[in-house]
Symmetry: C2
Subunit: 239 residues, 2 copies
């Protein structure tokens, strides 16, 4: 399989024209935010470009670091914008987390603690993993009375951190306890983006802020599965 | 003025005994957590040691990175534990933030956005600075509807980040907007501790997690005013 990325880096000579570029590449990987859409608006020229590439038999992959939705939920977003894209053509960082755990044969009797939104939960469920946390922990508070101790599940073997508008101290402490105290517990980040585009009106603090909180409390660096990660490129190249 | 720290680093020879050490030092700087108390319990031997040092005319300073209380509130904690300590002998990171702003003549017509608890607010008020945020923003939520834009105060000239059990995404976004968009806005951390001891039953994710979130979203490094910072040592040496 040839991809845009491997071809572009393999070729030292600039390609003469767009046709030559298109002919030389088998797979086109598209970012979504700012490339396909901006917030909830389709970007001009996108449908024509995708149609043209499909008519030439190209493989298309749509990549997004936004982990709030699953591939299925992204499929609906494409549909709403008038684009027909299959789930297999979507690589969202929500899916990346589940795909990574699958790639390392993460034990099915272990659990995943999720700091993030619905997309991650849906993809973990689809992949057959047990999880806890997510939006459910958004309303939880800690009463710091003398002697108070937060219990945590010793079976958590991975903490997955992505963008989370319901981020709170309960989640920081719970995930930190798992990473610090459960032997071998993984610390996985869907992405470390400083900025995300939840609405098109302004830039929003991205998944990098949730991940940064755990870096601060655990003094550990996460394994990143979204863009830019070797896991993502390896996964797409081997698929 | 001589201090324990300058003396210890100046002397390459180990001091022969405790008496010689005590005689050679004018100021003793104590950490509080794990040195004076553990959670809400006084550590054995502390009252006798402090009485002995005071009887020799030593200057005592009690330093804590915990910014949830003001110096006055810490004074009450010492009192509860049966120790008589004046506000002037306490250097809490809540106070450090206000003292730092004073040291740089932070304009009184500018405002400080606070991610943290009551101690920081109380010290800013005492120093005559205008502030917003703090515990009040703990219940605020963001509705990410299409086109939604968070307004922020353009007069915020500094964001102070400390431990905050009411940490949430609203605060991350508000503080990030101030740091990113208000020209010259300062990013000040009371501390970057991974761990704090809010109860003695377990280790809690510390102020480093709140600070880490802002490092992730702003891609900027904070100025740290608590331990270990040159500001703190300079302030104590020059007092």
């Amino acid at each position: 399989m040839e991809s845009f990325v491997t071809k572009a880096s393999a070729s030292a000579q600039p390609l003469k024209n767009a046709d030559e570029l298109i002919d030389s590449v088998e797979t086109f990987i598209f970012d979504c935010d700012g490339v396909i859409w901006k917030g909830d608006k389709l970007i001009d020229g996108v449908p024509e470009t995708l149609d043209m590439l499909r008519s030439k038999g190209k493989r298309l992959v749509f990549v997004t670091n936004n982990s709030t939705k699953s591939r299925k939920q992204y499929g609906k977003k494409f549909e709403t914008l008038g684009l027909t894209v299959t789930e297999e053509e979507i690589f969202a960082s929500s899916f990346a987390a589940a795909a990574y755990l699958k790639s390392i044969d993460f034990p099915k009797d272990k659990k995943v603690y999720v700091v993030g939104e619905d997309g991650i939960l849906k993809e973990l469920e689809l992949a057959g993993f047990q999880y806890l946390g997510g939006p459910e922990d958004g309303g939880k508070k800690i009463e710091l009375k003398p002697g108070f101790l937060m219990e945590h599940d010793k079976d958590v073997g991975a903490v997955v951190v992505g963008f989370d508008r319901y981020f709170n101290y309960y989640k920081v402490q719970y995930g930190t306890l798992c990473i610090r105290e459960n032997p071998g517990c993984l610390f996985i980040a869907t992405n470390r983006d400083a900025v995300t585009h939840l609405t098109d009106a302004q830039e929003w603090a991205g998944g990098g802020s949730m991940v940064g909180a755990f870096v601060g409390s655990t003094q550990r660096e996460p394994l990143v599965v979204g863009k830019p990660s070797t896991f993502m490129m390896d996964y797409l190249a081997n698929k």
